[in-house]
């Protein structure tokens, strides 16, 4: 049996000043080396869950372990275990990709030599070599996404969280990013992916969890869930499990 990359037990979370809990007695296990997809309607709690796992948000009840290490303690070694590619582009756009990787690499604990070697490698893989010294603000949407991804994987994390990593990019860039993610997974990186691009998710994720209103409504291998629910694709499965039309109050 594979070790657990993410182990969430009895998690309870509520945003400060709100009376209703986002998560209550929430449990989720993701095995090491999996390509895991986390899906759900808008406001279902996907991004909140990723923020809790990555330590962006703190929680009081329950436990979250990354590769067996309790995230509540927040020791520095935990930060090195995972990478996070957020939905919002998170870099300094006045700087070039090389300068951004230099900064984020230093904060990931890499040495100057490691940063140089890793940057060169990533620029080659993601097709950014020719523009590595240009300010990012002049880049196209696809190139910006690739820089965002490069920052997330700079320190060779064992777990990679991806929150809509291909939002707003063209087909070529999307295929390049997905292929790179699969390559990373082959080399042992656990991928935890969330997106509304369900066709893309079908090609990437082996196992999925559907969450709605802070609760897991389905969690299994994608093929098994499709068979169980007599659906041909993830979109049909999604609509079948979360309801075709959201109520007016939900909207």
């Amino acid at each position: 049996m594979k070790a657990l990359a993410v182990n969430i037990q009895n998690l309870a979370f509520c945003y400060p000043g709100r009376y209703t809990s986002i998560f209550s007695n929430f449990n989720l296990e993701i095995a090491e080396g999996e390509r895991f997809g986390l899906f759900g309607p808008n406001g279902s709690g996907k991004t909140t869950l990723i923020n809790l796992i990555t330590g962006v948000l703190s929680f009081r009840d329950g436990s979250i372990k990354l590769l067996g290490k309790e995230i509540k303690r927040r020791d520095k070694s935990i930060n090195k275990l995972f990478g996070y590619v957020p939905q919002d582009l998170s870099y300094y756009q006045e700087l070039s990709p090389a300068e951004n990787l230099e900064f984020f690499g230093a904060w990931s604990g890499l040495s100057a030599q490691e940063i140089k070697t890793r940057s060169k490698e990533l620029f080659g893989i993601l097709g950014l070599t020719e523009v590595r010294n240009m300010p990012i603000q002049k880049f196209s949407g696809g190139m910006k996404r690739r820089v965002n991804l490069a920052i997330g994987v700079m320190h060779n994390p064992k777990i990679l969280f991806l929150d809509e990593p291909t939002a707003g990019v063209d087909v070529q860039t999307r295929v390049a990013i997905i292929n790179y993610l699969k390559e990373l997974n082959k080399n042992g990186t656990t991928l935890i992916y969330t997106s509304h691009q369900l066709s893309e998710a079908e090609g990437l994720c082996e196992k999925i969890a559907l969450i709605d209103k802070g609760k897991i409504i389905a969690h299994n291998n994608l093929d098994i869930l499709l068979l169980e629910n007599e659906q041909e694709g993830l979109e049909g499965l999604f609509l079948n499990l979360t309801g075709k039309i959201r109520g007016v109050h939900d909207v």
Binding site: E94, F103, A106, W107, S111
Partner: protein, 105 residues
């Protein structure tokens, strides 16, 4: 240490490319100093140029009274007008009206 150094380098790079930011960071304090200095200087000149007339009737013949008048003169705020020691208070009051002096000693 490397993290701190990379953060300093990053901020210098960002600032060096932000012309408006540099202008605001250095230009605004300089502009503020110039404005405040100009206002203070014009106030200072206004006080120095417009001296207050002060009538002095020195009936004391001692050394200390002369030193006191010299000290008042050194303040540079008063235009001293010596009044004869024979004049009485009524005459000095009249002189204040005619000379338009605000003060008399």
């Amino acid at each position: 240490m490397f993290k701190l150094w990379s953060t300093i380098i990053k901020d210098i790079r960002i600032l060096s490319r932000d012309k408006v930011g540099i202008a605001l960071m250095f230009g605004m304090p300089i502009l503020l100093v110039i404005i405040v200095t100009t206002i203070q200087n014009s106030t200072f000149q206004l006080i120095n140029k417009n001296k207050i007339s002060l009538l002095i009737c020195n009936r004391d013949t001692g050394k200390i009274s002369k030193e006191f008048i010299t000290a008042v003169d050194k303040i540079n705020m008063f235009k001293l007008v010596q009044v004869s020691k024979d004049e009485n208070e009524k005459m000095i009051t009249d002189r204040m009206h005619t000379k338009d002096a605000l003060l008399a000693m």
